[in-house]
Symmetry: C2
Subunit: 409 residues, 2 copies
């Protein structure tokens, strides 16, 4: 393996366990004259992908370009079970068709970063887990102890604080770990919060005698969302979706707090490592206006997910609409009242906002209103349940920094 | 239900959970005009039964005589798995044939107490557990929490003292509990140490919506063994087997410490409750020599498992051999040296004793020697590894209080 490839592969990785695990696996692949098998679990219950997901995709792309195989794992087994306690109503069991459809949607979005036609396999863990008998499960569970599971921080915390842990939850890391055995993978990619589960996979590959040294586990840094605090996530409403419009991507990026710049430069752009380093240095030394850096990041994001031309247009739009302050009435997007199918008497603000932004969750929009980001004819309204007496043509609604609507017939 | 039957059924039971659970279930049976289903789990890995097992059998017989059904459960599912960690080498996985054979042996011995042809069904839990998929297992496990499992004392203690608990062990109470669901039983009999697992069965019957109030759990008192301290068990060597000879049963009973008398009168004899109460009062008031009470108990035990005549003969034998002290040489059982197939030069005492008593475990015999219960030509030997230089005709070996051997050609 050449040093340049190794350097590129390692660049930006947050954690590698064991520390020399990448070098070891690359040596092994060279010795056995085969590509490495990289396991990447996709969540079939959350098919809306955002820049947070893309952080890992970009690293997967590095491995793909170095000739290795990406094995995408769809966890259909647990998705089709749902929450057996019935407590978590946000995760109803999915049908096989829904999983298939979500996986398809996932791949389509992933395709914006990775060429999923090249060295990419898609596997469903139901293929092996649905075949397991109760006796097989007992034998699997015999390979780990309760104390090992309790090393997972959230289990330990919940146990200590008397927050119920259902027994099936203790089994899920073993399920995920067994997937690594079934896939015979060399490397597993996991988010920082998946590190524990991934290490169970390493342990099980060893316990089943599959590998002398089980899989290497790699995690990428988490990307904080638009709010600058929380991990980017759909439920927090602080995200840029991979299918967002060019104007949205540009505008949302321009809205991030300055101190997110180093991490966004590093994780969301496709600049070279040297270019990234220079930009980060510029930010830290205060030699460039953060706004200029943000524009470069915003431009590059739009360029990746749309095109160079789209990025130019989005930049122009942003200048026109937002940076020049004083909102141009013409910038309000005309929305046909008849198409919204809303009652027009005494309707709550949240319902109107939700009709205008159907892709956002109600809870995210509620928080948005409460944070003061929504105004009605220029008046900021912070009560999501504010009643609009007469919803009619001509009413102007501003949602966040970039959405302006004017009701028409 | 009549008060007399209820009184007889309740007599001698140590624990009923819930406290009114027996009355409730009897009322239910009366209302639904059906017999109660009594679950009793048999252990197919330990087919040598003793008076400790018979304590529960006698109570089952009371239910049987009151018209209820005994459903004997053979735990073939776990027996055929063995210990998945491979740590417990004393429990190798059994084949289906071995389980079948052990269950047969178990029933034959049980038949000495209960007429197993009458209202007795034999069920193997593999019948339903082997059909369960991994998804079924997850759903089952979703019905309990880790905190609930940790209420089992041995789990809590082991967790606290960092003694490993394999994950599959946490699942076993759920397996046993699910058996109650599959069997739709009204009452489960369990030893005191099984109480926790039985209560999981009650919880699961309720969680699966099978019964509004799940099974009632009954446990009988533990019988202490010949040593007067430990629970009677084969591995401790402190037991009277249900297939022991009449002389063995009689003699072993005569060897128990006096203070076991109340519990043995209560749990091992078939005297009426009034007779038992009188005998226990006699013992406690010191109005009867404990030796006389022991003789009555010993006689009754032999009478139950052999016959009245056998009991008389055993009593006579005991008088002749042991109670009159000064051992009669003729009482030494002649044992052909050639049949023992032992080396005759420099052989260890334990090996000789083990050849003479092939049904006892070596560890039990080792403890017996160490306790000073074995003598060679009248000399007590406490070293199990004592070398007999020349094992030859005429050597006399005494093992315990009742076994006398003289070697012949």
């Amino acid at each position: 393996m050449d040093a340049k490839t190794l350097k590129k592969l390692k660049h930006g990785i947050e954690t590698i366990v064991p520390a020399n695990g990448l070098e070891e696996k690359l040596k092994l692949a060279e010795k056995e004259k085969r590509p490495l098998i990289i396991k990447f679990g996709m969540d079939p219950t959350a098919p809306d992908l955002h820049l947070g997901h893309a952080v890992a995709f970009k690293k997967l792309r590095d491995f793909q370009e170095a000739g290795h195989e990406i094995h995408l794992l769809v966890g259909d087994f647990t998705a089709c079970i749902g929450d057996p306690t019935g407590r978590n109503t946000t995760r109803p069991p999915l049908t096989a068709e829904e999983v298939q459809k979500n996986a398809q949607t996932y791949i389509e979005q992933m395709d914006k970063v990775i060429d999923t036609k090249k060295n990419v396999k898609i596997l469903f863990n139901g293929a092996w887990l649905n075949k397991m008998t109760f006796a097989d499960v007992i034998k699997l569970l015999g390979k780990a102890t309760l104390a090992q599971m309790m090393q997972r921080e959230d289990f330990a915390n919940r146990f200590e604080n008397n927050i119920p842990i259902s027994l099936h939850e203790l089994v899920y890391p073993m399920v995920q770990g067994y997937d690594s055995v079934a896939m015979n993978c060399d490397i597993e990619f996991g988010g920082r919060d998946q590190l524990f589960n991934c290490l169970v996979g390493k342990t099980l590959q060893e316990a089943f005698g599959q590998k002398e040294v089980g899989q290497t586990v790699i995690s990428m840094p988490l990307l904080r969302g638009l709010d600058g605090v929380m991990k980017m996530s759909k439920s927090k409403g602080n995200y840029i979706g991979l299918t967002d419009t060019a104007n949205d991507m540009y505008g949302k990026t321009m809205s991030i707090p300055d101190d997110l710049l180093p991490e966004w430069i590093e994780l969301t752009t496709d600049f070279t490592p040297e270019e990234k380093a220079n930009m980060i240095a510029d930010y830290k030394n205060g030699t460039v206006n953060p706004m200029e850096l943000k524009k470069k990041v915003a431009f590059d994001i739009v360029r990746q997910y749309h095109s160079e031309e789209a990025a130019q247009a989005a930049e122009a739009f942003f200048y026109q609409q937002v940076q020049q302050k004083g909102f141009d009435i013409k910038a309000f997007e005309p929305i046909s009242l008849s198409k919204l199918s809303l009652s027009t008497q005494n309707i709550g603000l949240l319902n109107v906002v939700s009709a205008l932004q159907p892709n956002e969750s109600k809870s995210a929009l509620r928080r948005l209103i409460e944070s003061g980001a929504v105004s009605l004819n220029g008046d900021k309204i912070t009560d999501p349940y504010f009643k609009i007496e007469n919803l009619k043509k001509g009413i102007k609604i501003k949602i966040g920094k970039r959405h302006f609507y004017e009701l028409i017939d």
